[in-house]
Symmetry: C2
Amino acid sequence: MANNVTLKDVARRAGVSYQTVSKVLRNQIQVTPEVRARVQQAVEELGYRPNITARSLRLQTSHLIGYSWKSAHERFVAPILEEFEQSIVNAAERLGYHILLFPYHQGPDLYRTYEELVYSGRVDGFILSDLEFDDPRIPVLDRLEVPLVAFGRTHSGSATFPYVDVDGRAGIRQAVAHLLEQGHQRIAFLGWPEHSRVGTDRLSGYWEAMEAAGLPVDPAWIMRSSGQYDFGYAAAHTLLDLPAQRRPSAIVTVYDLIAVGAVQAAQERGLQVGPDVAVTGFDDTPLPPYLLPGLTTLRQPAWEVGQRVVELLVRLFQGDEPAESELHVLVSPELVIRDSSRGHRPR
Amino acid sequence: MANNVTLKDVARRAGVSYQTVSKVLRNQIQVTPEVRARVQQAVEELGYRPNITARSLRLQTSHLIGYSWKSAHERFVAPILEEFEQSIVNAAERLGYHILLFPYHQGPDLYRTYEELVYSGRVDGFILSDLEFDDPRIPVLDRLEVPLVAFGRTHSGSATFPYVDVDGRAGIRQAVAHLLEQGHQRIAFLGWPEHSRVGTDRLSGYWEAMEAAGLPVDPAWIMRSSGQYDFGYAAAHTLLDLPAQRRPSAIVTVYDLIAVGAVQAAQERGLQVGPDVAVTGFDDTPLPPYLLPGLTTLRQPAWEVGQRVVELLVRLFQGDEPAESELHVLVSPELVIRDSSRGHRPR
DNA sequence: GAGAGCTAGGCGAACGTTCGCCTAAATACT
DNA sequence: AGTATTTAGGCGAACGTTCGCCTAGCTCTC
């Protein structure tokens, strides 16, 4: 450690006991103005900073939060996570905590690793992102009885743990509603497969919006796959090959890159994206600017999610017992309307 | 803290003093096999894990490394950093350390913030990335006399601090050499402005390679800007507008998105990228797959850099005094040859 | 068979805090 | 004026380790 000025050093200089210094600095005691001034001056002159380790030992809390996320190769490119990471660090700092990185690599020693981290007092709790359908981290951490808050949910049934998530269903509802407003009636949906919680959730948003509008849904309009660009490209071609009466004039997708594929397919067929066929994405991925037209998409409020996750976790640390509605939070994505869904001219 | 099994609990169960348990577990003492077995059994049965905080206090080291990086909005999109982050976490774990996130936001309280972190014993040292031309963090941390290792350099003169960096100069040399092999003679360079350390470094690689080949360089072939796609696009048009005798047949760039812009421009002119005009990038950014042809580029060895950064830092913690060549490490990027620089047919 | 040398393990102290209890002096009250 | 109450600050203990020194008992040697 670079600095070794301790309470005792300050105390000696200020002419009081070191315990008194401790209390003065934390306003846990009444002292005469002179003593307070002497203490403060000594602190300044010596450059005293309380030793966090000693404090942690005494207080039995590390003020450290473990952040477990999935490595980039194992998931879609998602700049959202970078923003989320920034956000949790920011919020943690604000509340007197720090974030400890703890990547999630699957394996048989999962329990051991977390047990180690928890029992050794390294961290006070965890933040998880990239939740899987049936995430193995949840039961492990549950068993260790350590506070955690997740960014995302597992499959709907078992959401016993606290989480903050983006309301994909509401997002897709917004997107569909926007397309309806533009005059579209036949709207297709490109989503992720059945075993994807997120995919299923978003699909139900589509159903709800179509149902609310009283519009029929042709089963051919719904396509699901784990692909990205290629899937969007192929699926759009298939959709646009449908006979005129059944051919969709708008395509809602669950991921920007799927949307990009669809846009390319449409453009290849000489269609103008926006007027002829509308396309929407999800995530607001920073895309190369030559991708014209601008893509209408749903921006994930990653910053807000991060702030809330940390705030909730800190409340749990403090022994609060938040109400159900505070333990399971959904925040809506924001619809960003660009040219890819504007200027519809039915033909 | 979730677990409160301490040395004393283990000792009681094993029938020895707690200090002995401590020593047995760290092999710092000779004991009879029976005692060792009793201790080990007690540890297992109680699920004992040494308390890191107490150990840190005693040993005066937190085994925590602060990682200071720049937020995504303030820099180019660089998936490299994600890989780097993964890598340092991995290496740190391997060596018994953890990574603490500590984003770098400029401001007048820079010194205070770092002083706080260091003097309070929160971290043992720092890893910095996204170094700026004249990075303010360096003098601050220097003054605090805290070990640090950087990913990247500041301007060439003042490299007093330990760093590991990618050898952009050598990278560009490789790219140019490859193009020469393909039969190109007139090679252009699109780079970053004068005040960019990285840009200047890479430009010198270009000069060196051209000089080594004994080829003249037309000043018009060198263009510098802080732009990305747009710069590449516009610059390529300018270059390809040159009279035939001076027109380059290959374009080396310092960034993938610049290369993409150049590719687009070439394609717009009806040129076939690869055969007619070769283009190379830098970073091996995961690009949307419809970007054909595949881009020849220089892959940054972010993983290796991360490993080395941590290893070096840990050596510094241990009081080692590495030789000059170990304190300032350059690793070469790897040339990934794809279609954008293959099949040259001079015309 | 007594002193020297080993060996196994005990013991006190320290790392730098925070917390609760204690006490001497000052003030208030009847 | 004598007692009760408040006030300012001291003091011991504890959080869970690690480290160095100490010692009781054994083994060896001549």
